[in-house]
């Protein structure tokens, strides 16, 4: 697929990797980009900036909570109406709610709350599933105007994480990000005959608002395990999204992009 033939949506588009992905697509000549996020004011502010730079004909914004199946379905229909079709969905929306599953202190045993667990899984995993499900349905009912029948019909990208291997204090986040890799692999097998690919990208520590939540002493420790001793930039992850778009042999697997983290 060429960026110039992409009609794509990006969740979590108001900041971090999602925003960098939208910028990368617009810079690469993508005709229609849908920015989806549940942080309405932030979304509007960054959309205004991109619309002023690249034209509101090329970039639109949609308020959407990925956890709500009806809103997800409706938003993707609205994108299709605006753009004419859909052939890319990049799932960046996510939350990080740190805490040990069970810990002990002088006041007794403390448990990670079910609410925090569900919020994380609902956003990071179920949300990505809902977006992928509806996006795939849209891909199968439409085709980009300049795609021939032999071309790839669509691509689903899941933003996983280096934490998918497990990280103390991040059980819910790690579990959700690990599951996204399995989901990408499964969809690649289910959708191959429809010419739809499904892939995952697993970034290491990236300089985003989410990483800013992590205490500095913990970040320092994580960076000590990175060969090049720095955080990634969101545009470096967006570059990997572009690779996924352009390389049609890449399917069902995960790109690790983390500066050499061991």
């Amino acid at each position: 697929m060429r960026p110039e033939s992409i009609y794509g949506i990006v969740t979590g588009a108001a900041s971090g990797i999602g925003l960098a992905t939208c910028k990368m697509l617009l810079e690469a000549g993508t005709p229609k980009v849908g920015m989806l996020d549940c942080q309405q004011e932030k979304l509007l502010a960054v959309w205004e900036e991109l619309a002023a730079t690249y034209s509101p004909d090329r970039v639109s914004q949609f308020y959407m909570d990925v956890r709500d199946p009806e809103i997800v379905a409706r938003t993707i229909e609205q994108f299709e109406e605006w753009a004419g079709c859909l052939n890319l969905a990049v799932n960046c929306a996510g939350v990080l709610l740190d805490g040990a599953v069970t810990s002990v202190s002088s006041r007794g045993v403390k448990r990670y709350s079910l609410e925090q667990w569900e919020t994380t899984l609902d956003t990071n995993l179920t949300g990505a599933f809902l977006v992928a499900r509806e996006a795939i349905a849209a891909m199968l009912r439409s085709r980009a105007p300049d795609n021939s029948i032999d071309d790839c019909r669509g691509l689903i990208v899941f933003i996983s994480s280096i934490s998918r291997h497990g990280r103390a204090g991040q059980a819910a986040y790690s579990a959700s990000k690990g599951a996204l890799v399995s989901l990408a692999a499964t969809l690649s097998q289910e959708l191959a005959s429809y010419h739809v690919r499904s892939v995952a990208i697993a970034p290491g520590l990236v300089d985003t608002p989410m990483a800013a939540q992590i205490p500095g002493w913990y970040t320092k420790d994580m960076l000590n395990r990175v060969a090049i001793k720095r955080m990634g930039r969101p545009d470096e992850i967006a570059h990997a999204v572009r690779f996924c778009i352009e390389n049609e042999f890449f399917n069902g697997r995960v790109i690790e992009i983390n500066g050499g983290a061991f």
Partner: protein, 79 residues
């Protein structure tokens, strides 16, 4: 002794930095040995200094000296 001075004394012991270099604004980037291992060591000395124990959430909250002072204040620690 002020609360900040007692915390500075803890930092001196935990990280071998001069106590007078510690201010409310001090963050891990300012203290070379303040990584996750150093943090746990510092918390342990802090617990001894103030005769208390911290919850996991409180330990995670301690992302700067100001955060440490806030946690101590919430536990009713005074100068």
């Amino acid at each position: 002794m002020k609360l900040i001075d007692r915390v500075a004394k803890v930092f001196n012991e935990a990280f071998a930095v001069p106590a007078d270099s510690i201010t409310n604004q001090t963050v891990p980037d300012d203290v070379p040995k303040w990584d996750s291992l150093g943090h746990m060591n510092m918390v342990s000395i802090l617990e001894k200094e103030f005769g208390t124990q911290f919850e996991v959430d409180e330990i995670m909250e301690m992302a700067s000296v100001q955060n440490i002072l806030d946690v101590l204040a919430k536990k009713g620690m005074k100068a």
